[in-house]
């Protein structure tokens, strides 16, 4: 409303350029335009739920122990007796490793998604609603973190902190919270200008309660919908770390590590790289369909 507010807003706009060239919902949107929105969303949900269930019940579903080695049965091709998708160079069952990979990658990504979502949203609301020096400080920190290429920063952090699931979650959280903070900050400022927040303030309702009961429920949909597409990126990051040997420590199964280990066998046993690659693509596709479908449904962006 005020010229001051306007300047602030356009100033904030400069921040919102995409920080990554990946557009996680692009694939989902392309498919939706061909097969219709409800079908696309349903397929996406089915894929995501299936992967989540496979990961959750990996112990029941996997025919073999994913880390059990058997050199006499190394590099079997798919369709071999007892090993539906064959075995790797150490004789480990590929199907079992894929299934356990779903557990490691999907749930690590989920944890690395929820933490920054919570942290960033809280920081963003406080900064956006309180304004003043808190806001200035938060925006400063966000700008510094955004200035780095994400993957490079992530690799550097994991390198410093040492590999492991906890490390990955901490590293992703340390970087990814800025996205949610920025989103929540902008939304909080937008809501702050609306009369119901003003009404709550003139009603003498405590600040924390205004943020929790009034602002949060009204802006959280956007963040959650964004989180779905963010998860595509996080899964790719986690598998990339695995591929680079910085992911879930061996011998635990991880799709990125599997691709990395399959590299010497590309010519003969190409399927060793193709199966985990396909797992990543299918997961990403499912999430992309859900992200795009939800964004469409809630009319976000």
């Amino acid at each position: 409303m005020s010229p001051h507010g306007y300047m602030e807003r356009t100033g904030g706009e400069g921040l919102s350029e995409e920080r990554t060239p990946l557009r996680p919902t692009a694939v989902g949107a392309a498919i939706r335009s061909r097969i219709g929105s409800s079908l696309a969303l349903s397929i996406g949900l089915c894929i995501v739920i299936a992967i989540a269930l496979i990961g959750a019940f990996a112990g029941l579903l996997a025919p073999h122990d994913p880390v059990e080695q058997n050199v006499t049965e190394a590099l079997l091709s798919p369709g071999s007796a007892g090993h539906l998708l064959g075995t790797d160079q150490l004789g480990r069952d590929t199907l079992s490793r894929l299934i356990y990979g779903a557990r490691n990658d999907f749930y690590t990504a989920l944890a690395a998604l929820i933490l920054p979502l919570l942290l960033g949203t809280v920081i963003g609301i406080v900064a956006g609603y309180r304004g003043g020096w808190v806001d200035t400080a938060v925006v400063g920190i966000i700008d510094v973190i955004i200035a780095f290429p994400v993957l490079v920063l992530l690799i550097a952090l994991v390198f410093v902190l040492g590999t492991g699931v906890t490390t990955i979650i901490i590293a992703v959280t340390a970087i990814d919270w800025v996205v949610y903070a920025r989103l929540a900050r902008t939304s909080a400022r937008r809501e702050d200008a609306l009369e119901y927040v003003m009404a709550a303030r003139i009603g003498g309702i405590p600040t924390w309660r205004i943020m929790l009961r009034h602002i949060l429920p009204n802006i959280v949909t956007q963040s959650i919908v964004y989180a779905m597409s963010d998860m595509v990126i996080i899964i790719i990051f986690i598998t990339t770390l695995g591929y680079l040997g910085l992911g879930v420590p061996p011998p635990a199964a991880d799709w990125g590590t599997m691709i990395s280990e399959a590299q010497p066998y590309f010519n003969e046993q190409w399927w060793l790289a193709v199966f985990p690659g396909a797992a990543i693509i299918i997961t990403g596709l499912g999430l992309s369909l859900v992200a795009d479908g939800l964004a469409q449904r809630f009319d976000i962006r």
Partner: protein, 338 residues
């Protein structure tokens, strides 16, 4: 501002605004200048003027709710003995809701779309009284009943989008009253409503003012609304008060060319469409008004002296006007009825 007090007898003064100035903080552009207001218990004071006249900002300043970048630059606002500018955060919280309640223009945006209305009212009750959740809920139901809801228990479970505009506005009023304030600020409370609902909401505000013995400030650009409910009227233009007095007197015998022009722009049942006169030109942009009367560029009676500072001066019993050319308004001349 003139030192002469208005001669209208005050019933226990609730709000006193003196020499209020509001400016855009960074640019030091004044948007409201020299506004003085007072409201007593049981009194309904209307503030009228077109968009950009500073009426809403004045109201928000009283509530301590000025938007970012806009600040009170001068004068004092005293609500129930508390100076709003000097108040501690604790005093401000008691003030907000406890002493001052506010009703907004757009009832859809004034309600939280994600909360049931009963919970929203109860929340405001609990912000000011140490009561249990259950008691707050009961109080919310009582308030809904007082606002004319037939089945409060049922309505309390509704979300704002399930209600009609008039019902929403009544919920907003219920929330404003939840802390038992003694001053109700209404910012264009009927602008977003249908004509039929407008009357009901106005009647409700009038009834509450009388029954609860609270002071009401009603900001409106609609002279008809102001005429219907207000005891006194303040006319604002270009961030300044141009005229003040008992509502009926101001509307029947305006003592400022702006009020006069405003009345001529209002259609009435007796006037033909040809009698309507639009006011030529446009109001000054925020902060662009000079030191003199802000209406000069659009005023057909303006003389050289009008570009000099003009104070509000008493023109007759209980009335003040900021026009140098009072000779234009002999007491006998009557403007059109509203």
């Amino acid at each position: 501002m003139s030192a002469v007090k208005s001669t209208v007898t005050r019933k226990e003064e609730l709000l006193s605004v003196k020499d209020l100035g509001i400016e855009i903080a960074e640019a030091h552009k004044p948007v409201v200048t020299d506004v003085g207001l007072s409201v007593g218990r049981g009194e309904v004071v209307g503030v009228v003027g077109e968009s950009g006249s500073g009426k809403s900002l004045t109201l928000k300043a009283i509530a301590g709710l000025l938007p970012r970048g806009v600040a009170v630059s001068k004068g004092e606002i005293e609500v129930d003995g508390i100076d709003v500018a000097q108040a501690s955060p604790r005093e401000l919280r008691r003030l907000r809701g406890g002493v001052v309640g506010m009703v907004f223009q757009e009832p859809m945006t004034a309600l939280n779309p994600t909360m049931r209305i009963g919970a929203q009212i109860a929340e405001s009750v609990r912000a000011h009284a140490k009561v249990s959740k259950k008691e707050a809920r009961e109080k919310a139901l009582e308030l809904l009943a007082e606002m004319g809801f037939k089945d409060p228990r049922h309505s309390a479970q509704r979300f704002p989008h399930e209600l009609s505009g008039g019902m929403r506005q009544r919920v907003v009023i219920a929330i404003a009253l939840a802390g038992e304030p003694s001053l109700l600020l209404c910012d264009e409370p009927t602008t977003a409503l249908d004509a039929t609902v407008t009357m009901k909401v106005l009647d409700l505000i009038l009834k509450l003012s009388a029954e609860r013995n609270i002071g009401v400030i009603l900001v409106s650009h609609d002279l008809g609304v102001a005429a219907r409910v207000c005891d006194r009227l303040v006319v604002m233009y270009g961030g300044r008060m141009v005229e003040e007095g008992p509502a009926e007197a101001v509307l029947r015998r305006p003592r400022h060319p702006y009020t006069f022009a405003l009345l001529r722009a209002v259609p009435t049942k007796d006037s033909s469409i040809d009698d309507l006169r639009a006011i030529p030109g446009a109001p000054p942009a925020a902060g662009e008004a000079g030191p003199g009367c802000p209406f000069v560029p659009r005023c057909e009676f303006a003389v050289e002296a009008c570009t000099q500072r003009v104070d509000l001066v008493p023109v007759e019993a209980g009335r003040r006007s900021a026009c140098r050319r009072q000779e234009l308004f002999p007491d006998s001349v009557e403007a059109t009825d509203v």
